[in-house]
Symmetry: C2
Subunit: 112 residues, 2 copies
Amino acid sequence: MQQQTYLKGCLSAIVLQLLQDNKRMYGYEITQRVREITAGELQLTEGALYPTLHKLEAEGVLTTENALVDGRNRKYYKLTENGHQQAQSAVSELADFVSNLQKILHLKPSIG
Amino acid sequence: MQQQTYLKGCLSAIVLQLLQDNKRMYGYEITQRVREITAGELQLTEGALYPTLHKLEAEGVLTTENALVDGRNRKYYKLTENGHQQAQSAVSELADFVSNLQKILHLKPSIG
DNA sequence: TCTATATACAAAATTTTCTTAGGTATAATA
DNA sequence: TATTATACCTAAGAAAATTTTGTATATAGA
């Protein structure tokens, strides 16, 4: 499963997309969600994810809330108001990139 | 045009796809071809491309032929026999990755 | 003729980004 | 009681691209 290689650069955009869909998520949840969506083909490693989350938080794109659930600590991340805009542009650029990759690889364009 | 960011990791696969399509190409030609295909939205920088070509050559995926054209030197790259196989698997993995990105971004799957 | 642009290659230093490996801790299951 | 799942995180290193710089020829325009 070497698809991991191609993930480089897309991680932030993927996280931002998930947070547009879900209002708030915690780190572990994000790794599991990506695994679910991709049927196990893509796996975010925690060593890559947490630094990315912290970076986005430092940039003011995300804020956090702590919660204690079933005796375990959780840290929820959600988009700030500014973050929503940045998320939109990051995601739409990634969609454009996908579209360009389709052209290069002779994949048919997405329906819609 | 920040799509460049997402290119990370895909460069080799893109080069290999182009060389599957074209038998042989030289570096500058590759940058121009990508620019054409993507209507200027994606631009391979030479500083990224040449190290990638050299790495693929060192790995035995590509071989080179020099040619003098219009007084300027050209270095053509083409796939080795082994390279064809590696190109196919790299490209199909990138296609799978694109498919996973479509799922995450709620893009409709490619036609076909 | 001089200058800028296009063509064509490449190396070096830097930065970004991920991987690998490790650490802490609780709950549930076998 | 030992393992797995959940849940957070950091640090060292490697990988990969960017930026910067350099070389050189051809062509078009002023």
